[in-house]
C-alpha cells in the first residue's frame, strides 16, 4: 500500500482549518479560565456539555468511522460509573477512581470485542443492547449497589461544593480535549487512513490489506474508554448511582441524535451535534415526553432526508474543512469522489 505521503501533510491544512484549530485552542483557553466568571449553575451546564461532546465523539468514532452502530453503548457509561463507585468504596480518591474505572472498562471491552465485532450490522447493534441489559442486571446483584435503589459517591463529600464543582469542570474539559485530540491524531495516523477506508467501503478496504478487525477493535476500545470517562464524570456531578439511570438506552439515543444531526462520520459533526443537543435540551428538556418524541422524530427525519447531517451539508455547500483528518485531502481528485 503506497500513499503519496512525503511531506504532503502540510497541504492538508487550509487557511480555514488553520483558523479553526487556532479558534479551538483559543476556546479551550477561555473555557479553562471560565469558572472564575461563571455562576455555579453555568459551570454545571458547561460540564454537561463537555460530557455530551465526549459521548457524541466516541459514538461517532465507532459508528461513523468504524461502521459499527451500537445500541448498547450505555453499558460503558454505566460501567464507568459503577467501577468509580466500587473503586472509591475501596478507598481510592474519587477523581482518580473515575479514570481508573475508565481504564478497567476499556480493558473489559477487549475480550468483549473478540466476539461482538464478528456480528454484522443490526446483529451487532442489538447484540450490544443485550450485553448492556445483562451487565445492568449483574450490577444490580452487587450488594454495594443495593439493586435499583442505587448508592452514592459518598467520598466526594470531603470536598466543599465550590472546589468539587470546579474540579469536575476542569476534569471534564481536560477529558474532552484529550479524547478529541487523541481521536484527531488517530484519524490522521495510519490507523486513521484504515478507519476511513473501512467507513467508505469495508470490502474494498479488506481487499487492499486493511486489517479491518484490528482497526475496529481499536475504535471499539477507545469508544468504551471514552464513554466510561463520561459515565464517571456524570456520576461525579450527580453523585448518586442508580443502575436504571446509567444503563438506560436513553444515553445511546442521545448519542445517536447528536451524531445523526451533526453529521455521522464527520469529526466536526459530532461536536456540532453535541452543542445543538445541549441547546435543545436547555430549552426543551423540561417538556419531558414531548422533548423525547421530538428527538426521536428529528433523528428519523435526518436519517431519511439529511443522512450526512448538518455538517455534511455545510461541508458540501461551502467546501469547508475545519479539522482535516486523514490523507484524502492531499488528493484533490479523491476528494471529489467523496461528494
Amino acid at each position: 500500500m503506497t500513499f503519496p505521503s512525503n511531506g504532503t501533510s502540510i497541504e492538508r491544512w487550509t487557511t480555514s482549518s488553520r483558523l479553526a484549530l487556532a479558534a479551538m485552542a483559543m476556546a479551550l483557553v477561555i473555557l479553562a479560565v471560565a469558572p472564575a466568571f461563571l455562576g455555579a449553575g453555568m459551570i454545571d451546564r458547561m460540564t454537561a456539555l463537555f460530557i455530551y461532546v465526549i459521548l457524541a465523539a466516541m459514538w461517532n468514532a465507532l459508528a461513523g468511522f468504524g461502521g459499527l452502530v451500537s445500541v448498547g453503548q450505555q453499558v460503558f457509561f454505566g460501567l464507568g460509573a459503577y467501577f468509580t463507585i466500587r473503586l472509591a468504596d475501596a478507598g481510592l480518591n474519587p477523581f482518580v477512581a473515575l479514570f481508573v474505572a475508565a481504564i478497567v472498562t476499556g480493558a473489559l471491552s477487549i475480550p468483549l470485542s473478540l466476539f461482538m465485532l464478528r456480528l454484522k450490522g443490526g446483529e451487532f447493534a442489538i447484540g450490544m443492547w443485550v450485553v448492556a441489559e445483562l451487565v445492568h442486571l449483574l450490577v444490580n446483584l452487587d450488594r454495594l449497589i443495593q439493586g435499583e435503589t442505587g448508592t452514592s459517591l459518598i467520598s466526594l463529600n470531603v470536598y466543599d461544593s465550590t472546589t468539587r464543582r470546579a474540579t469536575i469542570y476542569w476534569l471534564a474539559l481536560i477529558a474532552m480535549a484529550a479524547l478529541l485530540g487523541t481521536l484527531f491524531i488517530l484519524m490522521r495516523s495510519r490507523a486513521g487512513a484504515a478507519m476511513q477506508a473501512i467507513r467508505d467501503n469495508e470490502d474494498a478496504a479488506t481487499s487492499v490489506g486493511v486489517r479491518v478487525i484490528a482497526t475496529k477493535r481499536l475504535l471499539f476500545v477507545l469508544a468504551a474508554f471514552g464513554i466510561a470517562v463520561a459515565g464517571g464524570l456524570w456520576l461525579a456531578t450527580a453523585t448518586t448511582f442508580q443502575p436504571k439511570t446509567y444503563f438506560s438506552v436513553q444515553w445511546t439515543a442521545y448519542m445517536i441524535f447528536m451524531v445523526l444531526v451533526g453529521g455521522i462520520g464527520k469529526f466536526e459533526g459530532a461536536i456540532l451535534g453535541a452543542i445543538l443537543f445541549f441547546v435543545i435540551e436547555t430549552f426543551f428538556g423540561g417538556t419531558g415526553v414531548w422533548y423525547l418524541i421530538g428527538l426521536g422524530a428529528t433523528a428519523v427525519l435526518f436519517s431519511l432526508y439529511l443522512p450526512h447531517g448538518l455538517w455534511g451539508e455545510i461541508e458540501r455547500r461551502f467546501g469547508l474543512q475545519l479539522l482535516p483528518v486523514g490523507y484524502r485531502l492531499t488528493l484533490p481528485d479523491l476528494l471529489k469522489d467523496k461528494r
Binding site: 456480528l119 443485550v130 445483562l134 442486571l137 418524541i293 433523528a299 428519523v300
Partner: protein, 299 residues
C-alpha cells in the same frame, strides 16, 4: 422440575410468535426493525383501548387491530423504510431506533405510566389450565400461543412457497432488479411483506397483553426477546424460530428457579453463549441463515 421445563417450552411459543415477524422482515427487506417491540406494544394498547372503552373482546378486537397494523405497515414501508434502506445497512437501524423512541413516548404521553393488561377482558383464559398427571398444570393460553406459533410459522412457509405473492416476495428478496424484469413491482411486494409482518406483530402484541401486564416502555424487552429467539434458533428449518423461542423460554424459566433476578439473566446468558459458540464454529452471522429459512424453496 418437569413443571419448569413444560412452562419454559410453552413460553417459547410466545417468543416464536414475536420472533417470526422480526426474522421475516429481515429475510425479505434485510432490515432489522428496532421498532419491532414498540409496534407490538402499540397493538396491545389498541386492543386494550377497544376492550376497555368499547367493550370489544380482544379476540374480536384483533379483527380491527390487525388490518390497521397491516395498513400501517404498508405506509411504514412506503414512506420510511424504503427510503432508509436505500442509504445502506446502517441507516435503517438508526431510523427504526428513532421510530421506536417516538412510538414509546407517544404511548407514554397518551396512556401514562400505569401498567395495563388484557387479562380482565378474556374471562378466565389468562389463568385457566388443564391438569396433567403428576400435579402439572398447563395454561390454556400458553397452549394457544404455542399452537398459534406453529400455525403462523407453518402458514408463512406455505404462503411463501405456494402463493403467487409469496413467490414474488422471495424473488424480490433475492434480486429486486431481475424480479422487476419479469413484471414484479418490488415496491408493492415489499409493502405487502411489511403488512404481513405487522399482522404477526399485532398477534404477538395481543399475547403479550393477555399473558402479562405491559406499559409504554415495554417495547424494548420485547425486541430483545424476539432478537434472542431468532438468533438462538438460527432457523434452517420451520422449527428453527420455534426452537429458538423454546430455548429462550427454557433458559428464562430455569434462570428464575436459580435466582429471583435469574429470569432475564438466564435468557441473555444463553443468547451470548449461542453467539459465542456459533461464531467460533462457523463465523457466519445468524441472520443470513434466517434468510435462507424463509426464502428457500420447499423441498
Amino acid at each position: 422440575m418437569i413443571n419448569t421445563l413444560i412452562q419454559g417450552i410453552l413460553l417459547g411459543g410466545y417468543y416464536a410468535v414475536i420472533a417470526c415477524g422480526l426474522s421475516f422482515m429481515f429475510s425479505v427487506m434485510r432490515i432489522i426493525n428496532l421498532a419491532h417491540g414498540s409496534l407490538a406494544v402499540a397493538a396491545a394498547y389498541g386492543l386494550w383501548l377497544l376492550a376497555s372503552k368499547f367493550g370489544i373482546s380482544p379476540f374480536a378486537g384483533l379483527l380491527i387491530v390487525l388490518p390497521v397494523m397491516a395498513a400501517f405497515g404498508w405506509l411504514l414501508q412506503r414512506f420510511v423504510l424504503e427510503r432508509s434502506a436505500r442509504g445502506g445497512t446502517l441507516l435503517p437501524i438508526l431510523t427504526t431506533f428513532g421510530l421506536s423512541i417516538v412510538i414509546d413516548n407517544l404511548l407514554f404521553e397518551q396512556f401514562g405510566a400505569d401498567t395495563r393488561s388484557l387479562a380482565p377482558f378474556i374471562g378466565n383464559l389468562s389463568y385457566a389450565s388443564w391438569q396433567l398427571p403428576g400435579h402439572i398444570f398447563v395454561g390454556k393460553l400458553a397452549v394457544m400461543m404455542m399452537a398459534t406459533a406453529i400455525v403462523i410459522l407453518g402458514g408463512l412457509q406455505f404462503f411463501l412457497s405456494r402463493f403467487a405473492l409469496g413467490r414474488a416476495i422471495r424473488a424480490t428478496a433475492e434480486d429486486p432488479d431481475t424480479a422487476g424484469l419479469v413484471g414484479i413491482d418490488a415496491r408493492r411486494v415489499n409493502a405487502m411483506a411489511t403488512a404481513i409482518t405487522m399482522v404477526t406483530i399485532g398477534i404477538a402484541g395481543a399475547f403479550l397483553a393477555m399473558r402479562a401486564t405491559f406499559s409504554a416502555y415495554a417495547g424494548a424487552p420485547q425486541l430483545l426477546f424476539a432478537f434472542e429467539a431468532a438468533v438462538i434458533g438460527g432457523a434452517g428449518s420451520l422449527w428453527g424460530t420455534l426452537a429458538g423461542g423454546i430455548v429462550l423460554g427454557l433458559a428464562q424459566s430455569l434462570g428464575a428457579q436459580l435466582h429471583p433476578q435469574g429470569f432475564l439473566i438466564g435468557g441473555h446468558v444463553v443468547f451470548l453463549l449461542v453467539v459465542f459458540l456459533r461464531l467460533f464454529r462457523s463465523g457466519v452471522p445468524t441472520f443470513s441463515k434466517i434468510r435462507a429459512f424463509f426464502l428457500r424453496s420447499p423441498a
